[in-house]
Symmetry: C2
Subunit: 368 residues, 2 copies
Amino acid sequence: MQAVRPRQARAARDFSASQSRLPDAVHARILEDIGPVRAAGSVLTLPFTGARFRTIRAAAEEHLRTLLDISDDFAVLFLQGGASAQFGLVPMNLAPPGAVADYVETGYWSRKAMDAAVGAVRVATAASSAQGGFDHVPPPADWRLTPGAAYVHVTDNETGDGVEHPDAPPTLPVPLVSDMTSNFLTRRVRLTAHGVIYAGAQKNLGVAGLTVVLVRRDLLGRAHAFTPAPFDYTQQDAACSMVNTPPTFAIYVAGLVFEWLLGQGGLPAMETAARSRSEALYAAIDGSEGFYRCRVQRAYRSRVSVCFDLADASLTPLFLLAAREEGLDGLAGHSRIGGLRAGLYNAVSQEDVAVLAEFMGDFRRRFQ
Amino acid sequence: MQAVRPRQARAARDFSASQSRLPDAVHARILEDIGPVRAAGSVLTLPFTGARFRTIRAAAEEHLRTLLDISDDFAVLFLQGGASAQFGLVPMNLAPPGAVADYVETGYWSRKAMDAAVGAVRVATAASSAQGGFDHVPPPADWRLTPGAAYVHVTDNETGDGVEHPDAPPTLPVPLVSDMTSNFLTRRVRLTAHGVIYAGAQKNLGVAGLTVVLVRRDLLGRAHAFTPAPFDYTQQDAACSMVNTPPTFAIYVAGLVFEWLLGQGGLPAMETAARSRSEALYAAIDGSEGFYRCRVQRAYRSRVSVCFDLADASLTPLFLLAAREEGLDGLAGHSRIGGLRAGLYNAVSQEDVAVLAEFMGDFRRRFQ
């Protein structure tokens, strides 16, 4: 095979917000299970109808149920399409025609979810922090919920704006639907507060192309007639997420990640580590005498999407270039928002953050 | 990492119809591009927003356009959800509410496509071979097309029934939509006869979780308002299939497969090889004096899904067991249809088929 493109010299520490690297142990295991050329039974191409994949899928579900303490009241689905597809599929699965759905607007991604739902459901804004420039999460006590709403949708972590819900709200009178794509499995979750949780795989579950959806079973059976079967929660639940060919390799990788997380001490350990990583970085920002700035109110600062900027924005390209030279990659802010950003997912180490904080200190001393 | 399950002894030659293995050269290249533990820039976790993935995606599209001689009149989309999702997404993208769509029923999968479209479009049967037990494809001259139909849908190859359209029909008065999941890139295609072609990746494109959709551009812009953006052909075309996070690894693998196919001589070479493989196997069946039987009329026998059975059906479990012992795997027929089946995708070699044919001869001599 000719190379599609020559291999680049690559950064050693990746803070990309769009895709996390894999834990080393998971990476090693994947190589082993792919096997050498002509290896039979490679995990790259497992027939989904075979016993081996069925075992892998069942084990992945079991590990996830253990991690999050998921009872049988919830279905665990492994779907395709990405979390953005769920923006449209949540109303198609939960809201009868003409129903109202409430949305809590906290930044770029919750806005995207609202825009995508228009047409499938009557979208109502239960609360918004747009007036504050998305520098906080409106407290649940202030949410104006519509009586009889099909659900209320939140984006648990806003990767573009660096804002995170501090905790799940108290149990609400309408089902809570939470997009946890970017902070899934980085802390414990009070599952009983939720109706639906969904998360794309590319942040904390491995390779892109898989979306995990947890659905409280009493919410099943409400899909619109025109919902394609692979996107119908009820049909996928009945078929163990094998209504059609599932993304077998992505599910296999996610299963390895779940297993790795359990071996690391599960979600309490991830919660401690995420807190520790983000606090170290916010300390570097807050201690910079205004050279670096984070405009998010402290109580709502994301533990996984640390968004900041330089008081002198003209230094941003130089910062990114200098960081890259130090092997620190993926630090540009969201393309529509700008600034700087560090994605601190589970596979990022405390040492990675320490190296970044040290670089930020050096850069500041050169240019402040 | 603990093993999810101990590695099994695996068959050396896999004829699974649901998932093809990869060509050796592609497998080797994937291992290289994944790299060792702590390798930076692994293809497992490429950020889709980065330059490297964009280059990979663009190259994959370019290779596919070269292979199939696709003009700019067609959009090339890399989507998620599987071909079964397209059963619902084709009407959502092409048919205005209340429209009629014609379907040609030739077996299990075309029936599935029809059932899934009900509710999104008024389904009309343009032709059916159900009365013949799906032993042929109704000739296009006999299709009863509905004037003004949004499209006519065909399943180019029926993996469950072993029936394949011998060729594309002449250009029709309504757009032709063809599910080529199982025979995509196994022969040349007269693209101008088609409006839409779609194909899941797991047969001839590599790893599951990717669906290639080719859409004639004059058919864009017709999606229902409630079509989720990642499944809206028009939005995905405008965004180079990056409306949201695409299945980066599956697209990378498909790109390698396209490149491999070009190096092998492209579709003329694949067509010759597929013909040669299937003829060798049908010869073994037809020359068995009725011990093995294929009930599909010769002109419509699939080149990639050779479905057959044993005159004495009670021998089927023994056949599968003995085959497995010889390293010949994946030969059970579709779970809802039964019998035997060999999936002869591009990565299956002529030698694989020769070994299978020899085994079939030996088995026959023992039990006839």
